[in-house]
């Protein structure tokens, strides 16, 4: 009947207990050297970074830099870094901050104020806008490393063909695009390619329209949203009607940087708004069909106002919970030093935050467009610094996306809703203790 053999086996509970014990004991052990934990994303010039870090270690015997790596995507990196900070994890000393985080990190007590290390004369060696982005309530919380700003790319060859000067105002850009599209008769060509998906990049793109029409996103003194003002809604209406409906196409509502640039490098876009990195890509024959035909200039504005470029970039911050702030500062100072920044700039072509490098002969020899870029960087406008930037940004993203994606949106009504929501968030700041 039953032919199942019966074997004896040791008690199950003992096995489980032993397993758990061995797992607990294999936890981390004490360390001999001083470990400096550096949380970053992986750079395109990883070799240069490795070299620099090795240089730091040899200059500081006993110090070992332990790297932790996260994705480059701002949102994902934010999740990773804040997870450690919100739990007061001492196992993180230096980390990268996106340009919109210093206010948040300062107010939350996550970033160490750096005024005792980073003196005002030292700050003056950097570009002004990024330094401003790192200030909160009079103190400084980060050292800028890289700078980005929105720029307008255009097809030099097509503008030359129709003898048109690069447009200085948005209405002029629209007129030029209409003319060229009508004459070129290329069904694949679009007048304007940019980032209009519902994400942070949308705020960058839209603020370049709104602020260059003389409006503001919100009033930092009164703590009230100003998106319902006539000039702000006019700018948004312009984007919906003149740009997306007329010279561009619905697809841009789903674009982030890669898709919008792809259109331009395939030769299917006339005007393109993007960050400085696009210059290298667009002029590389391996990656672009329009290499050599690309022009770049500061963004247009509305008549009577000045041009505005959204400021992007990354800075180094020190965690408030770090056990070795002094060593951490030495590392930050080293990575942000003139030599280190120069090496990185030569290797990657990313705009450094140090002003002097834009006049450096070696750098300009390798990247001649840096001098033009400099002009844009000094005009760049940081997004307003506030601890509640991300909640406000989410509300603005929702508003802008609804306004431009829904075909006959009632912009004034949507702006009213956004204003109400933003004011509710801004009210939370009223109880803020004065510094």
């Amino acid at each position: 009947m039953s032919l199942v053999p019966c074997f004896g086996l040791p008690s199950l509970e003992m096995k489980i207990l032993l397993a758990i014990l061995s797992l607990c004991l294999s936890g981390s052990t004490a360390l001999a050297q001083t470990q400096l934990r550096f949380v970053s994303w992986r750079s395109e010039a990883a070799a240069v970074w490795d070299q620099l870090i090795a240089g730091f270690e040899s200059g500081h015997p006993g110090a070992k830099v332990v790297r932790e790596v996260g994705p480059h995507s701002s949102t994902e990196f934010h999740d990773l870094v804040t997870q450690k900070l919100r739990n007061r994890d001492p196992e993180m000393d230096v980390f990268f901050m996106d340009v919109i985080w210093p206010g948040e990190f300062a107010a939350a007590g996550w970033a160490l104020p750096l005024d005792e290390y980073f003196s005002v004369p030292q700050q003056k060696e950097f570009l002004t806008a990024p330094i401003e982005a790192n200030r909160y309530q009079g103190r400084i919380y980060g050292v800028p490393l890289f700078v980005d700003a929105g720029m307008l790319y255009f097809r030099k060859d097509l503008l030359a063909k129709y003898r048109l000067p690069p447009p200085r105002t948005w209405p002029a850009l629209v007129d030029q695009a209409k003319l060229i599209l009508a004459r070129e008769r290329d069904p694949y060509l679009t007048g304007y390619s940019a980032q209009f998906k519902q994400y942070e990049g949308l705020v960058c793109n839209m603020m370049e329209f709104v602020i260059s029409n003389g409006a503001a996103l919100w009033d930092e003194q009164q703590l009230k949203s100003t998106l319902a003002s006539g000039q702000a809604t006019q700018a948004v209406r312009f984007v919906r009607d003149q740009i997306i409906r007329t010279i561009s196409h619905r697809g841009v509502l789903a674009y982030q940087e890669p898709e919008s640039l792809a259109l331009f490098t395939q030769g299917k876009a006339l005007f393109h708004r993007n960050w400085p990195y696009a210059w290298e890509v667009a002029n590389d024959p391996q990656r672009s069909k329009v290499a050599g035909h690309v022009g770049v200039m500061p963004l247009p504005s509305f008549p009577g106002h000045k041009s505005v470029a959204a400021l992007g970039g990354w800075q180094l911050g020190i965690s408030r919970f770090s056990r070795q702030p002094r060593l951490a500062w030495q590392f930050v100072e080293y990575m942000a030093s003139h030599d280190a920044q120069k090496q990185i700039a030569l290797a990657t072509g990313r705009g450094p935050a140090r002003a002097a490098l834009y006049r450096d002969a070696e750098v300009l020899a390798k990247h001649p467009h840096f001098s033009a870029r400099y002009e844009t960087f000094i005009l760049a406008e940081p997004r307003p610094r506030t601890p509640v930037y991300l909640p406000l940004s989410n509300i603005m993203q929702r508003y802008f996306s609804s306004a431009i994606a829904i075909p006959d949106s009632n912009i004034d009504q949507l702006a009213g809703v956004a204003t109400r929501d933003m004011d509710r968030v801004l009210d939370l700041l009223r109880e803020r203790p004065r510094p």
């Binding site: 074997f7 086996l9 949380v39 395939q266 672009s288």
Partner: protein, 270 residues
């Protein structure tokens, strides 16, 4: 007629599953300008640079190895623990068995993102961050509800005869489970195992915040490291996913006989 429907069914299923992926595979062989060509080009120019970049520059094999270790360990431990629990729930007379199952189900309903924080804190307190066993422990807790449910339901559906005979012969419950139930429930067990494995293979958010040392990062996190701030290297990601899917396909092909094994219950009933 039935044959035609059948062949049509096979083609549709195969095509549906494979076509989008095949498109991605051809993308891995295209040059940068071919990838975003407007309109799209179907036939790639067999350009191996993306594979080289994925393997050498990004160290793809290392991430695959980590994922294999983590997913493998998760599967083995989850299935063992879940089988024990499922057997008890299916065969022992417990008044509260049904409530335990419902509790497990309820626990799996809570969004992972919401519990990521406390789990991270727990692992941090234990010193298990950036370790294999830390992330495996987290994954086991995520897959236990599902594995337990699947195995409980399959064990319940098995006929009791042989087990009964074995128990009468003097085998313990454990021996009955190991030598009688397991072989006969193989299809259910291997199905649960494959699903747990793939779930652990795919998991991203916990891995993102728990594994920050390059040495232990798993595949989904590794691939998330491919893009630059504004650049999306479609070619390299396509190459990486092609390489990464091969082990899973091989695994399935290898184990599919076990999954197929006709239930000997048929023979037993007769």
């Amino acid at each position: 007629m039935k044959k035609i429907i059948f062949v049509a069914g096979v083609s549709v299923i195969g095509g549906f599953s494979l076509l989008p992926f095949l498109w991605f595979v051809t993308t891995s062989w295209k040059t940068a300008t071919e990838i975003s060509a407007i309109p799209p080009v179907l036939w790639p120019s067999f350009h191996w640079e993306h594979y080289h970049a994925a393997l050498v520059q990004h160290g793809l094999l290392h991430y695959i190895a980590n994922s294999a270790i983590v997913a493998g360990a998760t599967t083995v431990v989850s299935i063992v623990i879940a089988s024990l629990a499922a057997y008890a729930l299916a065969r022992f007379k417990l008044g509260w068995g049904r409530y335990y199952l419902l509790l497990l189900l309820a626990l799996s309903m809570f969004p992972q993102i919401a519990i990521a924080g406390p789990v991270w804190r727990l692992l941090s307190a234990l010193g298990w961050l950036n370790t294999y066993h830390g992330v495996v422990a987290a994954y086991i807790s995520l897959s236990l509800p599902f594995a337990t449910w699947v195995l409980t339901i399959f064990f319940k559906e098995l006929p009791y005869d042989i087990e009964e005979a074995a128990l009468i012969d003097g085998c313990s419950r454990w021996q009955a489970l190991r030598f009688v139930v397991f072989p006969v429930a193989a299809p259910g067990v291997f199905t649960a195992a494959i699903l747990v494995f793939i779930h652990a293979w795919n998991e991203f958010f916990f891995a993102l915040i728990i594994l920050t040392y390059p040495a232990v990062q798993t595949l989904p996190v590794g691939i998330a490291l491919f893009p630059g701030e504004y650049t999306m290297p479609w070619g390299e990601i396509a190459a990486a996913s092609t390489i990464a899917t091969l082990p899973l396909v091989a695994l399935t092909l290898f184990f599919q006989r076990r999954i197929v094994q006709g239930l000997s219950a048929g023979a037993v009933k007769g």
